[in-house]
């Protein structure tokens, strides 16, 4: 194999010589976790230890994960950069590639290109309170930044997490939810949609925006990070506005159809923005400047 300007898999840096931008790292599936019906988490380790050594990323970034022979799919990196030696991704089986991924076993090799995209500016949040609001399968993009902040716990003020799913079975990261719930330095509220509770459910019942309104957290010196299906975002924003959160205080990570991940193929364009380069992390203030095409 010829030596290339950019190593395989790695996200290109500005100023790099022309390179084949589409060659993935080979990743071995170290662990498969069934999170919820149709939802799995993979723990991935670099096949080449030299690549593992050099690899870094920041919270908020995503990658193109592939099954050789089937194609690529876009997921965030769901594990925090504070954990070395592996990355994790969580996905729901929805189409061709995710179905092929769901068929993979521990020990199989898949592809990963990344890290791509911009990052949650967690350094700017030092000293602030953090309010994480997530729904359903949108907890994975948040899990990375939640753990990143919890791994640096003393840099932040109060940390609150509001997470909801349709039913108890649909809650992802059940193990971590138990961990977070047990911590004294985290306020965790887990909720399911009305009708989604089981007889022994001890958490809340109600849609995420409703629970948010009930808890009525203060906006003072607080950063809100929101991620969820479009309908949840649509109903959560007015509640945050009522609680006096300014658009600059609210962060989200945008899901959009992506392919190349490096700002070339044009698929993820929203207005003049490339979600894969200028995002996927945006403040609501930035999003409001974009055409509503996402």
């Amino acid at each position: 194999m010829t030596k290339m300007a950019t190593p395989p898999g790695a996200a290109p840096a500005p100023g790099d010589k022309p390179a084949n931008l589409y060659v993935p790292y080979r990743m071995r599936i170290a662990k498969v976790t069934d999170e919820a019906p149709g939802v799995k988490t993979f723990r991935l380790e670099f096949v080449d230890p030299a690549e593992a050594e050099k690899f870094t990323f920041k919270a908020g970034q995503f990658g193109e994960y592939s099954v050789f022979g089937e194609g690529e799919s876009t997921f965030c990196i769901a594990s925090p950069p504070t954990r070395k030696g592996y990355i994790e991704c969580t996905f729901r089986q929805a189409g061709r590639v995710t179905s092929a991924l769901a068929d993979r076993d521990e020990g199989d090799v898949i592809g990963f290109r990344g890290p791509y995209g911009n990052v949650f500016p967690i350094e700017q949040w030092h000293g602030k309170k953090l309010l994480f609001i997530a729904g359903g399968i949108a907890l994975p993009p948040m899990r990375c930044v939640i753990w990143n902040c919890l791994d640096l716990r003393d840099k932040y003020g109060d940390v609150s997490i509001i997470y909801g799913a349709r039913t108890v079975a649909d809650l992802v990261y059940k193990h971590e939810l138990a961990d977070w719930g047990a911590r004294k330095d985290v306020n965790l509220s887990v909720t399911v949609d009305p009708g989604g509770q089981t007889p022994d459910w001890k958490g809340k019942v109600g849609f995420v925006p409703t629970i948010l309104e009930q808890l009525a957290p203060s906006a003072d010196n607080t950063i809100a990070i929101v991620c969820g299906p479009p309908i949840m975002i649509k109903l959560t924003m007015p509640v945050l506005a009522k609680l006096n959160f300014k658009p600059e205080q609210i962060y989200t990570t945008l899901e959009n159809r992506m392919k190349c991940g490096v700002g070339k193929c044009g698929r993820c364009n929203v207005g003049k923005v490339y979600v894969c380069k200028d995002g996927p992390v945006f403040t609501m203030a930035q999003l409001s400047q974009l055409p509503p095409e996402y």
């Binding site: 194609g71 189409g95 061709r96 179905s99």
Partner: protein
């Protein structure tokens, strides 16, 4: 042209239709473009000549056009056949659209009810256009290797733009076979063999349904005679199964209808 404009204007003025779909002059003399006349005044732009090629019946299934309200469509015999085939395939209700069929000698026939369209179509001469017939005979006279070379060369020019599919009134599947990726039946890239596969599969999906309007090859940016594939298959269906689509509202798909007196032994 004036007679057509007059009829169209009357339909709009009376409120019988909300839009007349016809042709207006296009960018140059050889080109016409679809016109959606929503007011009586706009019908003054209607034209009709050999540059008016696209089968406008295809717009009857387009949500943005349906939203305009009841439509009248200007067309030819093949346009009427399209509506009949739509009826056979449960895509359109009886009397849901008005047809203004212009015959070769300029006569305009206004039709709406399926029964009337069927009566009209029963009287028109049938058969492939003479030029297409000649081309088909020329190809079928070729030895197999030569014919294969011809079609391979034609299909190597295909750029997989799917203009043929977009222009064809019968290609209205919400999810085309080429968009199915589990598995990816039809390769996406413009590999010559894959191009041939796409065009053959499309022709097969149209066998017994194609109404011979020729919009596919008219639309093809590369000038590929893919209409000949459809026309050959139409002839096959006629000779082997006796069916000709678009002349009645009865659904009689040659390839999915079983008759106890089928002339093939293996199926009886």
């Amino acid at each position: 042209m004036e007679a057509l404009q007059k009829k169209a204007k009357a339909l709009l003025e009376s409120g019988a239709v909300k839009v007349v779909i016809g042709f207006a002059a296009g960018t140059d003399a050889q080109t016409a473009r679809p016109l959606f006349a929503k007011t009586p005044e706009q019908t003054a732009k209607l034209v009709w000549d050999e540059s008016c090629k696209q089968n406008l019946a295809t717009y009857l299934l387009k949500p943005e056009v349906k939203a305009l309200g009841k439509a009248a469509v200007v067309g030819r015999v093949t346009t009427a056949r399209t509506v009949m085939q739509y009826a056979a395939e449960n895509q359109i209700a009886d009397d849901a659209a008005v047809l203004l069929i212009v015959s070769d000698d300029g006569q305009i026939t206004e039709l709406a009810k399926f029964a009337d369209i069927e009566v009209y179509l029963a009287k028109v001469p049938r058969g492939l256009p003479a030029e297409a017939q000649k081309e088909i005979e020329r190809l079928q006279a070729m030895p197999l290797e030569q014919r294969w070379a011809f079609w391979s060369a034609e299909m190597s020019r295909c750029i997989k733009c799917y203009a043929c599919r977009a222009a064809c009134p019968m290609c209205y599947c919400a999810r085309c076979i080429t968009d199915v990726n589990q598995p990816q039946w039809i390769p996406v890239a413009t590999d010559p063999l894959g191009n041939l596969e796409w065009n053959i599969v499309r022709a097969m999906h149209l066998a017994g349904r194609c109404v011979d309007c020729g919009s596919c090859s008219d639309a093809c940016p590369q000038g590929i005679r893919l209409d000949l594939l459809n026309r050959v298959l139409a002839q096959e269906v006629l000779t082997s199964f006796g069916g000709e689509p678009g002349y009645s509202t009865r659904k009689e798909y040659a390839l999915s209808t079983f008759k106890p007196d089928d002339k093939e032994e293996f199926i009886r």
